[in-house]
């Protein structure tokens, strides 16, 4: 194992850097500009049972040090992901990919996960119980410990792959939800998804985003991510994948000190398409600077 490698639910990652779902498509836009095999892995676009167009545009608003998106889980549906996206991905990515799954009913999650379970390219199932974009959708599962546990149990029944439940930060008690997922059999927790946000255009005096509200992400949310990763990592005995506002190697180390085993990078990919490659390249010298020999040693080091 190299200095950067970590173990995520029994699968070794060459490094802990993982582009986050929704900000990396199915990989190949990025494969045009760098060899994406340098990544630990990546989490592909949130996939649902049926194809979805998502929300009307505008779907994007700018914020200080961040952005709001209300894409609304646009994706071609699990069948097409398996028949079209995964074969294309195979040509540019030879590692296990993280499959991000969303749903609007417990059965939807189980259906999609059962299909993806059969794909050998898929290493982990990252189950998004937290997307704030869809009315009456993902949000409700992630805000209630029982509902989150129900999804976890249903997914665990249909797969032997590690199941990572991705939590919403838009809750009052993140720890109780994380624990409920652990009790229901989750193999890992990832967090945080976007914070519910909104912008209003002073010229038109209307919301910038057609859906009015959307998910706030980017560097501005980093301190919230550190806090929530810390709380959850100290409360559960399964690995935590941290994310939220990560944009450089220092941020990766900080989230790992807070308790993250691996770290996802979201919105930063949209602005600097090579950011994940650059972070991986920068990690060794930043580790040297802070006297860190191996990244796996620092997980949860901040007590």
């Amino acid at each position: 194992m190299g200095r950067l490698s970590v173990d995520l639910c029994g699968i070794t990652l060459d490094n802990p850097v993982i582009p986050a779902s929704g900000t990396f498509g199915y990989g190949y836009e990025f494969a045009e500009i760098y060899d994406i095999n340098v990544l630990g892995t990546f989490s592909f676009k949130g996939t649902t049972k049926d194809p979805r167009f998502g929300n009307p545009t505008p779907r994007i608003a700018e914020c200080n040090a961040g952005m709001i998106n209300a894409v609304g889980l646009q994706n071609p549906g699990v069948e097409k992901v398996i028949s079209e996206e995964l074969p294309k991905l195979k040509k540019c990515f030879n590692k296990k990919v993280m499959a991000n799954v969303s749903g609007f009913a417990v059965e939807d999650y189980a259906y999609t996960c059962e299909k993806l379970d059969k794909e050998e390219q898929v290493g982990w199932l990252e189950v998004n119980v937290s997307c704030p974009n869809v009315h009456g959708g993902g949000m409700s599962f992630g805000t209630n410990p029982d509902a989150a546990a129900e999804v976890t149990a249903a997914v665990k029944k249909v797969t032997t792959k590690p199941v990572i439940i991705k939590l919403s930060p838009n809750v009052t008690d993140i720890v109780s939800i994380a624990k409920a997922c652990e009790d229901a059999g989750a193999d890992g927790i990832s967090l945080i998804n976007t914070l519910l946000g909104m912008r209003i255009d002073l010229k038109t005096k209307k919301p910038v985003i057609a859906n009015k509200m959307g998910g706030f992400s980017g560097s501005a949310i980093f301190p919230v991510a550190v806090r929530m990763v810390y709380q959850v990592a100290n409360a559960v005995n399964i690995p935590v994948v941290g994310m939220g506002g990560v944009s450089n190697a220092e941020d990766v180390i900080e989230l790992m000190l807070a308790g993250a085993t691996a770290v996802e990078v979201g919105a930063a990919n949209l602005i600097d398409p090579c950011v994940c490659r650059d972070i991986i390249n920068d990690l060794p010298s930043v580790m040297d600077k802070y006297g860190i020999n191996n990244l796996s040693e620092i997980i949860g080091g901040a007590k």
Partner: protein
């Protein structure tokens, strides 16, 4: 797509709000007119998309209107300063479909991408007409540049202070054309969709997250399925457009 650093060669004011910036850098990914670049600016989270106005001998020309923080910042920049630019974005116009007498219709800051298009069509031996639409005489730019290329140029102003009084649709009435290309505000695109007698290509704008196809921020519905304006567009053919609302 390519991410690289460009150096500003000049940044000149064309009208009270419109500027022309010339930059030098790696333009190898810019392959057709109608593509755009995405520019990173100090203190702003998202990049700003601007159409390629011209690209020749390693020099990239952009024409932009100051409308907010990002374009204000660009207007203040001077020769020698550097910008982080993503190039080679979008599909661009397809000149193969133009026939021998294409007409190019631009409104306001929709005019710039048509310059490189006109240049290419003329180099291909086609007889190019250009119709430029502005609100008023003071806002006109690029008229002489299109003339210098050898295009047949007409200008329409909404207030009648120069050229034809009215919109590009009014100036189009007197032109004989085999195909059209357009870029401009959506009401103009919609009007052209209705009055044009031939097939053609439209360039669209949408709020963008990434500009290179990764975020699904800019999707639209078309007759041929969902498309990302930034990657499968910004240019769509008339036959595939579905107007929403």
């Amino acid at each position: 797509m390519k991410q690289s650093i460009f150096k500003i060669i000049e940044n000149t004011q064309l009208t009270s709000t419109v500027f022309k910036m010339k930059l030098s850098g790696d333009v190898s990914e810019i392959t057709s007119p109608g593509q755009f670049v995405n520019i990173k600016l100090e203190g702003l989270y998202l990049r700003r998309p601007i159409s390629v106005c011209d690209c020749e001998n390693g020099v990239l020309t952009l024409i932009y209107k100051v409308v907010g923080k990002g374009t204000e910042q660009m207007a203040k920049m001077t020769a020698g300063e550097e910008l982080d630019v993503l190039t080679g974005l979008g599909n661009g116009y397809n000149t193969a479909l133009s026939g021998d007498k294409p007409v190019l219709l631009g409104g306001g800051v929709g005019v710039p991408p048509l310059y490189m298009l006109a240049k290419k069509l003329i180099a291909e031996g086609k007889k190019v007409s250009v119709v430029l639409g502005f609100n008023t005489k003071d806002e006109i730019f690029c008229e002489e540049d299109f003339k210098a290329l050898g295009a047949d140029v007409s200008v329409a102003t909404a207030d009648g202070s120069y050229g034809v009084k009215g919109f590009v649709t009014d100036a189009l009435k007197d032109i004989d054309y085999t195909y059209f290309y357009t870029c401009g505000p959506e009401p103009m695109l919609k009007a052209l969709y209705k009055v044009t007698a031939t097939s053609g290509q439209f360039s669209f704008e949408e709020r963008m997250g990434c500009g290179f196809g990764a975020c699904m921020g800019c999707s639209c519905k078309t007759i041929t399925g969902y498309k990302r304006i930034c990657k499968d567009g910004p240019v769509l053919e008339k036959e595939e457009i579905l107007w929403e609302d």
